[in-house]
Assembly symmetry: C2
Homo-oligomer: 193 residues x 2
C-alpha cells in the first residue's frame, strides 16, 4: 500500500537490531486518518469473506482494529495479556514469546467472545517472527472458530513469520512488507500486486 | 447518555466488591457502533474547544479513543504501562495504583507526542477513584500542555474520582454515571442535563 510505505519512509526510524520505530503514527501516537485508509484497503482485499468479528491483541493492535471494525461493521475482541480480577475464569489462553518486551506472557480471550460460529479476521500492527499471531491462531482454533484472514500493517519480510503463516494457506495481507532496512540507510519494500 | 445507560442495564453484570463488568461491549469485546455514538456525544459536549489531540491509556481506553479521534479529526496518543525496548528514553512518566489489577505500575508518554502547544482531550472507559486520570493529568502538566476536558464512558459516582476531578475545574463528561448497584439488583444512574 503506497500511502503506508511512503509514510514509513518519511516518519519511520530504523534502529539497530532490526527495530523499526513507527511510534509517531502507528503504535504510540496513532494517525486515525491513515488507519481509515488501511481499513478500506483490507475491506477491498478481504471482500466477499463472511467476516463477523475482528480479533487483535493489546495494546498496539487495538486502535487499528477498532478503525478496521468500523469499515467491516463488526465488533472487535482484543486478547488480553494479563489476568485482571474482572476477567472471567472461563478463558482460552496460550503463551507468547515477545521479542519487543524480552519476555514470555500469557494471552487470554474469554470463551464468551470467541465461538465456533465466528468467522474471524485477525488484525495487528506488526508481523516479524509471528509469535503473537501464532498465539492468536491457537486461540481461534481452540474456540473452533474459522480464520478468514490476517491483516497486518507492517511485515518484516526478512523475518520468518510471514512465510510461516502463508505456508499454512491463510490469506495474509500485509499492507507494507519491509525487505531490508538499516540505520541511516534506505528502507526497501517488497513489490506487491 | 440514554443509549449507553440502556446498554449497561441490558448487558452489564454487577459483581461483588463494586465490580461492573461491561466486557461484552466496552473493554474486551468492543461494540464500535456504540463507540461512534459516544464519540458524537463527546463532540457535542466539547464543541468549540480547540482540541488537537486525544490522550488515553492502554489498553481498554484505546478503542474508544480511536473512534472518538475520528469524530474530532485529531490523532490519539496512548500512554504505555510498561517499558519496551522500542520506547524512547525521553519520556514523561508517573506511577499509578490500579484497583483492577491490584498493583502499582508506571505510565509513560514520549516527550515527542505531548508538547506545550497541545490542547488535550483525555478519554478513558472507566472513572472510579480517579488514579489513572490523575496520572494522565500529571503527564499533561509535566509537558506544559492544556487539558481541554475529560470524556469517560462509565463513572462510578459512588467513588471519589469524579468529585475530585470536577473540583479542579476541569470539564468532565461521563456518559453514564452509576449512583448505586448491587449483584442481582437494579443499576441506578445519576440524572444528567
Amino acid at each position: 500500500m503506497q500511502l503506508l510505505e511512503e509514510r514509513i519512509r518519511k516518519d519511520g526510524i530504523v534502529r539497530e537490531r532490526n527495530v523499526l520505530k513507527v511510534d509517531s503514527f502507528i503504535n504510540h501516537q496513532m494517525d486515525i486518518g491513515l488507519f481509515e485508509e488501511m481499513a478500506k484497503e483490507w475491506k477491498r482485499l478481504f471482500a466477499g469473506k463472511p467476516i463477523n468479528k475482528i480479533l487483535t491483541i493489546e495494546a498496539s493492535g487495538i486502535g487499528i482494529a477498532a478503525v478496521a471494525a468500523r469499515e467491516f461493521g463488526v465488533p472487535v475482541v482484543f486478547a488480553k495479556k494479563s489476568m485482571s480480577i474482572n476477567l472471567d475464569q472461563d478463558n482460552y489462553r496460550t503463551k507468547i514469546q515477545s521479542f519487543t518486551h524480552g519476555r514470555e506472557y500469557e494471552v487470554i480471550v474469554s470463551k464468551k467472545f470467541l465461538t465456533p460460529g465466528d468467522h474471524v479476521l485477525l488484525i495487528d500492527d506488526f508481523l516479524a517472527n509471528g509469535c503473537a499471531l501464532m498465539g492468536l491462531l491457537e486461540l481461534v482454533q481452540a474456540a473452533g472458530a474459522t480464520v478468514e484472514g490476517i491483516g497486518i500493517a507492517i511485515e518484516k519480510g526478512f523475518q520468518s513469520g510471514g512465510e510461516r503463516i502463508r505456508s499454512m494457506g491463510i490469506q495474509l495481507e500485509s499492507l507494507a512488507i519491509v525487505e531490508s532496512m538499516s540505520p541511516g540507510g534506505e528502507i526497501v519494500f517488497r513489490g506487491q500486486p
